[in-house]
Amino acid sequence: MATDRADGQNAPARYTESIERTLVTIEMMPVPGGIVQMESPDGVRTVRVAPLWISRTEIPWDVYDVFVFGLDRGVAGADAIARPSKPYVLPGEQFGHQGHPAIGMTFVAAESFAAWLSARTGRRYRLPTEAEWEQACRAGLEARPASTAPAAWTRATSEERTRPVGTSAPDGLGLFDMLGNVAEWVVTDAGDPVAKGGAFTDATEAVHCGARRRQTPAWNASDPQLPKSRWWLPDAPFVGFRLVRES
């Protein structure tokens, strides 16, 4: 784990997580704590979010493959966490693989990835809560540096495919693709999975910090097995995730 200086009073320092026996890394960026106004059917709720780290990009295939295909096998304890089944047909496999966000995993699979990474690194990673995710998204919109890259990969900019992570404009926290590219699995207050922030398949106006979608039967309609896979959503190439760690 490499760290550099702390760059905010509220925030811990950024660092780079690595996984033993592999060459992949995950950059973790500090997010300041704050108050989030969450819209809900019962009106606006105020939620306090503590400072935390969030991964700088959506988790790319390069990292997710280590988990799926057991590329870290041979490490003691590497098999303590259940791993996904080998995928039959991956959603969006024509988009590209290396550097592209991992997509089409179920919420359970994304949670399992976090548990596996925690076991492998000894640091506790998990999916963001919806409030944490929105705090990071909204804080990132402030002081956004000028860039010639698109602010978000949406239907208007993406040419109907995912784009490699880190190729849009970074936000004020240095995060990429909080908006667009792929919608990201988070946990609501009620413990439900929803996917946040809009995706490359969405119109520009549908890509914002409050954007959320729930899984529907269409997301795995073409899985011909019963029970359907608990790991893969072959018809949801617009869903991925990133991780947080409490500071």
């Binding site: 991956l90 496999e93 693989h97 073409s222 029970p227």
Partner: protein, 441 residues
Amino acid sequence: MQNPGKVNSLSRREFLRTSAAGGVGLAALGGAPARAWAAGSDTIRVGLIGCGGRGSGAASDTATGSEGVQITAMGDLFPERVASSRRALAEQLGDRFRVDEDRMFTGFDAYKRVVESDVDLVILATPPGFRPAHLRAAIDAGHHVFTEKPIAVDPVGVRNVLETASIAEAAGLAVVAGTQRRHDPRYIETMHRIHDGAIGEIVGGQVAWNQGGLWHVERAAGMSDMEWQIRNWLYFTWLSGDHIVEQHIHNLDIANWALGGPPARANGVGGRQARVDPSFGHVFDHFAVELEYPNGARILSMCRQQDGTARFVGEHFMGTKGTSDGQTWIRGAMEWRHRADGEPVNPYVQEHTDLVASIRAGRPLNELRQVATSTLTAILAREAAYTGQVITWDEILHSDLDLSPGELHFGAVPMPPVATPGITQLSRTPFAHSRDVTTGR
């Protein structure tokens, strides 16, 4: 046992038998088989043979794809497969699932018991090596069939199925195969345009199924050769036909659809580089085969199952006037792109909807000859790579290649060697048994 419809359905079963026999006579006279469904509201009773994930999924798709369809019998070699499938289907289907204890069968003869039970339609979803015997039993009993692909693993099996197809055609029975792209509006509309000349005459193309590895079951202590091989059926040619037959048949079927028939000859390469452990049986992990069609068109077929390699599943055709991916777009003299209207069609459900509708309308769909042709195309491609020889359609159609293992029981089954191009012969019987021993026919 609660089965209030039993008396009625028994009489309907007798009707079906009589009606099927009548269909033979009418067909012989040159008329259309008169097999209109007794009444549009009649329940169609379905027996599931092969209760793995795909068989259970097919049963669910059958029961939800049309009104008035009920799963009433099920069979599998392994008791725990029947039990888990029953749980999943009962939860999924509610009262469309009515399988009583005495309609749940296990063992190598489970398929016979399902076929003998009071069903109108059977779903065949066991490993493909068993399919010729199961198809014949179902059709002989006068049942309509949904069969997973492929329908055989060797030419002897394909010829058996072609005979079964003739019996089914004469009896007016419906057979739909799990080549679900044939029921996908995107493919149907694109192929319609290709056949109308949108890209001119097809001169070449590529079809591919490139992906990573698949599931694999560890050999438990005390597991017989037979059980271990069947639980890992993907990795044994007598059971799966190898991945070019079991999986890539989907894309080869699209090539045959586009070209209007099977290739005239095949020449290809293949081998086993990444998946070399004996726990993965003796199949290859990659093939690349050139298929030459009667009009001279050359289609490159490529497939692999190797972890960590580039994925692609799809097709591409080049004609004298344009190109197409066979499923969404046409470029060249015609510029066209498929646009879906309304709810997307799920071809895995649509194939069952089409099957049931054809039965009820008295115009039974019969895809058995078509899927047998595509199965033999895949076997031709496999054998070109296994042997390293150019093989013609006539040679493969009449080949005595018989991969069946002999008597089916939980005991010793030797593993044939991995094929070696230049040494492996097309004419081979790796277990030195005739198929009659395997099927008991």
